[in-house]
Point group: C2
Chain length 353, copies 2
Amino acid sequence: MARTERAQRGGHPGVSIEDVAAAAGVSTATVSRAVRGLPRVSPATREKILRIAGELGYVASSSASGLATGRTRTVGVLAPYVDRWFFFKAIEGVDRELHARGYNLSLFNLGGQRGARERLFSKTMVYKQIDALLVLCMSLTHEEIDDLQRIDIPLIVVGGPVEDCPSIGIDDYAASALATSHLIKLGHRDIALLHGQDDSDLNFAVPRLRVEGFTDTMAKAGCAMPAHWDIYGNFTVGSGQEGFDELWSKPGRKPTALFCASDEMAIGAILQARRRGVRVPEDLSVVGIDNHEFSEALGLTTVAQDPVDQGRLGTRMLLDELAGATGSVRTTVASHKLIVRETTAPPRLDKQG
Amino acid sequence: MARTERAQRGGHPGVSIEDVAAAAGVSTATVSRAVRGLPRVSPATREKILRIAGELGYVASSSASGLATGRTRTVGVLAPYVDRWFFFKAIEGVDRELHARGYNLSLFNLGGQRGARERLFSKTMVYKQIDALLVLCMSLTHEEIDDLQRIDIPLIVVGGPVEDCPSIGIDDYAASALATSHLIKLGHRDIALLHGQDDSDLNFAVPRLRVEGFTDTMAKAGCAMPAHWDIYGNFTVGSGQEGFDELWSKPGRKPTALFCASDEMAIGAILQARRRGVRVPEDLSVVGIDNHEFSEALGLTTVAQDPVDQGRLGTRMLLDELAGATGSVRTTVASHKLIVRETTAPPRLDKQG
DNA sequence: TTGTAAGCGTTATCAT
DNA sequence: ATGATAACGCTTACAA
C-alpha cells in the first residue's frame, strides 16, 4: 500500500520526514539529525529545517523510529491496583519523571477484579514494547521473574522487596517498629494488631514485615498480646471497620491501643470506633502507617512515607540505566517519619497496665 | 546496522518473524497470517507455526507492525490528576476494557504540581503514537481541541461535558438537584453550599453544573441562602475542613444542612465538624456527590456515580469506532443514584424553619 | 493455501 | 556538513 494509495483511501499519512526533507531541499538524514538536535548540521540548515518542520507540523513516527533504533521510549508500569493510595501516588511520581525526560508511560493494571489476580502478566504484553519495566509493590511468580530476566530490560520494583529484583521502598520493619514504640512510650502495653494480607496475594513481604516490626517491638518491651487481639484485614477501609467490630465484640479485656498495618485500615477502625461510641484516643489510641491523604484530616498519628518520591526515584534509576549509566538501578531504601497527631495519647489511668 | 552486527554488539535482536518462518519452512507472510489468526492458512501449517513460534518465544514487534499498519494499538488517556477518586477509578475501567481487547494504555498525567496546569498537552505528545484518545474530565483549550481534531483520531471525554467533543458522564445538574431535594424533603430550608473550582481550572463545567442544580432546586423550594453560607473550596478533603471552619466561624445563624459538591469536601467538612463538637446529622446534615470509597465507612449520604463503568464504556466506544463501527462514539449520559446513609436527618425541631 | 516483494518512516553507516 | 542507502520487522497486494 503506497503512500499515495493511503492518502487516496482517506487515510491520514501525516507529514513524513521525507516531506520535510523535500520542502527544505535537504536529505532525510539531515532532517533526522536536525530535529533530534544532533551535531553535524550547520546552524543555518538546522534553523531552516526546524522552521519548515514546524510549519508542516512534522512529528516523527514513534513506530518508525522505534523500529530503526530498537527503542520505544516508553516504560511499562505494572500495578496490582491503581485505585489504592500507594499505587496512584507512585504512578504520579513515575509519570512526572518519565514525561519530563521524554518517555511515555504504558500502564498495566493487573487488579480491578478484587479477590484474585485477574490478569496474568505475560511477557508478550511488554516484550518489544517497552524499554524498561517498573513494578509497583507486588510479588512476582518465579516464572514471571524468569520471563522478565530473559527479556533483559532494566527492571525495578517500587514499594517493597522482591527477591532477585532491585527495589526501592521504605524499611517496613523499622517503620512499624517506630509506630509501635510510639505507643509503648506513651505507656500502652495492651496493644492490639490489625494487619492482614492484600486481597489478591500480590505482595506478601510488606504486610509480613510490618507485622514483624510490631511483634518484635512488643516482645522487646515485654508486652504480651492475647491471640484474639490479632485481627486480620485486607488493607482496606472496610476491613478496618470490620476489624474494629471483631476486636470489640469479643468478650474480655479491651486493648488501650491499636496498631494498624496501614492508614486505610486505621481510618476504618477509627470511624467504626466512633460509631460504636468508643472515643479515640481517650478510650483507644490508634496508629497507622503510610500517611494517606485523609489521615491529616482525621488527625491520624502515623508513620509517613512518600510514594511519589519513590516512584520518581525508581524511574530516574531506570532512565539513567537506559541512558547508559550501567549500575544506576540498585536497591534503595526510602525514608519514613513518625507524625504524631490526635489519635494517640497515653492510656487512661484507670486502664493503665 | 545489520541484525548480525546488532547481535555482535551485545544487542538483543529477539526472535523475528523471519526466524519463525525459517524454522517452520514457510514464508513470513504465512507466519504473519498464522499468528494473527487470519484465514488462508491450512490448519496443519498454522498449528506448526504456532508451536514453533511458542518454542522460540516469538512476539511481534509493535514498532514494526505499527509502522506497517499505521496503527499502534494503544490509546492515550489524558488526565488532569491521577490521585483523585474519579480519575483513578475511571482509569481502572479504561485499563480493563483496553487490555481485554488487546490494546495498550498510554497515560498522560497533566497534574502533579497542584495549583496550575503544569504540563501543557501538545499534539506532539500523542501524534502518531496512539490510535484514539480518552480525556478524563478536563476542559481543553481551543488550541488543544483544534490540534486534536486535526490529528483526527477518535476522541471522547469521560466525566464531564466539553464543547465540541463527545463525552460520557452523569447529569451533574440532576445529581445535585437530587441531593438538594433530599435535604429539602427532610425539612431543611437553611442549607449551606460548599462548592468551588478545581485547583487547576481543569474543568469548569462540572462544578458549575453542580452549583446550578443546587441553586435552582433551592429557588424552586423557596429557600433563600445568605451569601456567607456560600463557601468556596477546591474539591479536596482539606478544603472541606477549611470550608466548615469558615462557615462555622462566621457570626449569625447557622444552617441546618450542608450541600457539598463532592464527597471529598463533604468528608472534610464532617471530620472538622466533629472535631469542633458539631454533631452530624443532629446539628448539621451533610450530603455529597460521588460515593467515594470512604463515604460508606463514614456513613455519608450521597449521590453515587460509577467512574469505572464510565471509563469502560467510553473506552468501548472508542474501540468500536476503531474497529470500523463509525458512529460508535457518541455523547452518553451515565446514571446516578441517591444513597441515603447516616449524615442526613430532619433538622432538630428547635431549629426548624 | 502459500510465496514474493513492495512498502511503512525512521536511523545509522559510510561516502563525499 | 551533507547525502545515499541499507537496514529495522512487519503487513499486504498480488501472483502462483
